[in-house]
């Protein structure tokens, strides 16, 4: 394969994945509104198109059409940079996520992954840690006390929970001996659900910690303090309107999908089927290529439903409770998990 | 494809380029340390110098195919993290006491 071909294929993959990701973000919003509606015993959006399926597109058009207000007191360069930074970081990390069998395209090309990186997991963590800046700068440059309070809360929360998030993944990495996301998934493939890291790998404690830290990392309820409407009038994006607000909104949902992808890859066996190699692979080449994608999407979808379910059920934490929970419960538990896993690996 | 483009794509970079970059970055850090008058920016210049030194460590590790150079960078990062935590705590304490961050105004040992 020449360099030119490689570039063209990569460009194609990037475009397709980005479009699918943005559509996924739009329909995650609809999923959340529908599900929360059902939880609260109402219908949710059902006027635009069949079952309200066109609602996200109409919402997007509305955001585009709205007047783009920039308040007088803001610090302009950073005010404009912040939403781009937030959305950019949220969309980049999908680039190292594998979502199908390797080497299936023409000439042994990885059709179902933009790039196979040796340190894929670390890349995702690095990009996630970069996402803090979008929120921090948004709050500071808005020149509004609610925004500043929201962004101070948020950056403290993100940095605190990042620690627990990172440490909860160490157990999985120790078992696999690699940061490569493909290797991590292939290790879990053999017997399906019995060899998934969450069950066969004895990492359910790690999964619990990851789940809690992920809720906090994506600013989702019950840890949605940075944008607590009732106390901060919206937090860091108080001063943002129209498309710039929509970018923050999309970044939040894109981050939810990212977190779901990482959970799927590390704990739930990635693109492999829950039955593992017990059933023979299908003969048809298209079915063979598309089945893994089906499983991957199904797992991420289940994770997103869990997110919405929790949001519809739990009330918000208080700020000191949040910090206590992060530092005094999750962090020691994560370290305990690492010690336990290494003991298990040593004396197995 | 055009052969000149292909040769450009496969050309290697001499390690001197990396070392020169590191030297220039270090010098810019020193200049920042001397010129800037804000305590936080002065501190940032120090971080810039540390980063420049790290780059030359990584370059030499690449040249000798030695892992220890990279591990040294790892240690520098850990020390820099500790230094940043303590340094910024000191800056907060100074700001509370003096209500200024200009290095020229902070010239007394006692309040």
């Amino acid at each position: 394969m020449t360099i030119l071909q490689f570039f063209l294929w990569s460009l194609l993959k990037v475009v397709v994945v980005t479009v699918v990701m943005l559509l996924g973000v739009a329909y995650t919003v609809l999923l959340e509104r529908k599900l929360v509606g059902r939880i609260q015993n109402r219908w949710g959006p059902n006027r635009v198109g069949p079952f309200g399926l066109l609602q996200p597109l109409v919402d997007g058009a509305k955001s585009f059409m709205k007047e783009d207000l920039i308040p007088a007191g803001v610090y302009r360069p950073l005010y404009l940079l912040a939403p781009i930074l937030a959305l950019g970081c949220a969309l980049i990390s999908i680039g190292v996520v594998p979502f199908g069998e390797p080497k299936i395209g023409p000439g042994g090309l990885d059709l179902f992954e933009i790039s196979n990186v040796n340190i894929g997991l670390l890349v995702i963590l690095g990009i996630t840690s970069f996402g803090v800046y979008g929120i921090a700068l948004a709050g500071w440059s808005s020149n509004n006390k609610y925004s500043l309070l929201g962004s101070l809360r948020s950056s403290a929360q993100l940095v605190s929970y990042e620690l627990a998030l990172g440490l909860s993944l160490v157990g999985v990495v120790m078992q696999t001996g690699s940061f490569n996301l493909r290797t991590i998934v292939e290790k879990q493939a053999e017997k399906g659900i019995a060899t998934w890291n969450i069950f066969g790998g004895m990492q359910f404690l790690a999964f619990f910690i990851y789940l809690m830290a992920a809720f906090a990392e994506t600013n989702r309820s019950p840890f949605d303090l940075p944008e607590a409407e009732s106390e901060l009038t919206g937090g860091y994006h108080t001063e943002y309107s129209s498309m710039k607000f929509a970018m923050f909104f999309m970044a939040e949902y894109a981050n939810m999908i990212n977190v779901g992808c990482v959970a799927t890859l590390l704990f739930l066996g990635g693109w492999t089927s829950p039955l593992g190699n017990l059933i023979p692979p299908p003969q048809n080449i298209f079915v063979h290529a598309l089945m893994p994608i089906f499983w991957f999407v199904a797992k991420v979808f289940a994770f997103l439903c869990l997110y919405v379910w929790v949001r519809g059920t739990l009330p918000r934490f208080r700020y000191d409770q949040l910090m206590q929970f992060g530092w005094r419960v999750l962090l020691p538990l994560a370290i305990l998990n690492i010690v336990g896993t290494s003991l298990w690996l040593a004396y197995r | 494809m055009n052969p000149s483009i292909t040769s450009l794509l496969q050309q290697a970079v001499p390690l001197q380029a990396y070392l020169l970059l590191s030297a220039v970055l270090f010098t810019l850090g020193v200049i920042g340390f001397l010129v800037k008058r804000n305590l936080i920016t002065v501190f940032m210049s120090i971080e810039l110098m540390l980063n420049a030194v790290n780059l030359s460590f990584v370059t030499f590790a690449h040249q000798w195919h030695a892992v220890k150079g990279q591990i040294f960078v790892f240690f520098v990062m850990m020390v820099a993290a500790a230094e940043a935590a303590v340094g910024l705590a000191i800056i907060i304490a100074v700001f509370r006491a003096r209500a200024t961050l200009a290095v020229d105004r902070i010239d007394l040992m006692k309040l």
């Binding site: 700068l137 | 496969q10 001397l34 008058r37 940032m44 210049s45 907060i92």
Partner: protein
């Protein structure tokens, strides 16, 4: 490919570092420093240091610089005041800097056999790195962890005394 990537990201590095000097507001300087650090991470990748590139992103760009921006935001430190520079800096500092750069540049340009760096050559895997770190250099590693513990205690002690408004930054310092 290596040449193009090197030129682009070395340019980002230099641009960021110069911008750090030119900007008068600390938050702009902090952002330029973030640009420098992220480009350095790419240069580490080019030199085959994968793990260090990730660590550079996570530790430097993602944690240390967040701490800097956080302090700038917290203190709401405005523009830099124009004051007279130190006299020692003018007399000794700048000539010394120029001399340092000159000496380094001459030495580097005279050395001929340093070798080159090309794409996907001499990549250090995380495994090699951790093997050396946790066997031969275990003691320094543990000593560093003690150092970080002391730093945490020091930071908490420094930031804690004072009145009630210290709650936020105390937690933030613990986050380190």
């Amino acid at each position: 490919m290596h040449v193009i990537l090197f030129v682009v990201f070395a340019g980002f590095c230099l641009g960021g570092a110069i911008n750090l000097l030119l900007q008068s507001h600390p938050i702009n300087s902090a952002l330029s420093l973030i640009v420098v650090m992220s480009s350095l991470a790419v240069l580490y990748l080019l030199l085959g240091a994968e793990f260090l590139a990730a660590a550079q992103m996570i530790v430097y760009a993602g944690a240390i610089m967040v701490l800097f921006t956080f302090v700038v935001m917290l203190l709401n430190a405005g523009r830099e005041e124009r004051t007279l520079g130190s006299r020692a800096a003018g007399i000794i500092g700048f000539p010394a800097v120029v001399a340092l750069l000159a000496v380094l540049a001459t030495v580097l340009l005279r050395t001929r056999d340093l070798g080159t760096a090309a794409l996907s050559q001499g990549i250090t895997s995380t495994e090699e790195l951790s093997t050396v770190l946790f066997t031969k250099l275990l003691l320094p590693f543990e000593v560093t962890s003690v150092l970080i513990l002391i730093a945490i205690l020091g930071a908490v002690a420094l930031a804690r005394h004072g009145n009630g408004d210290s709650g936020g930054n105390q937690e933030r310092t613990e986050a380190k």
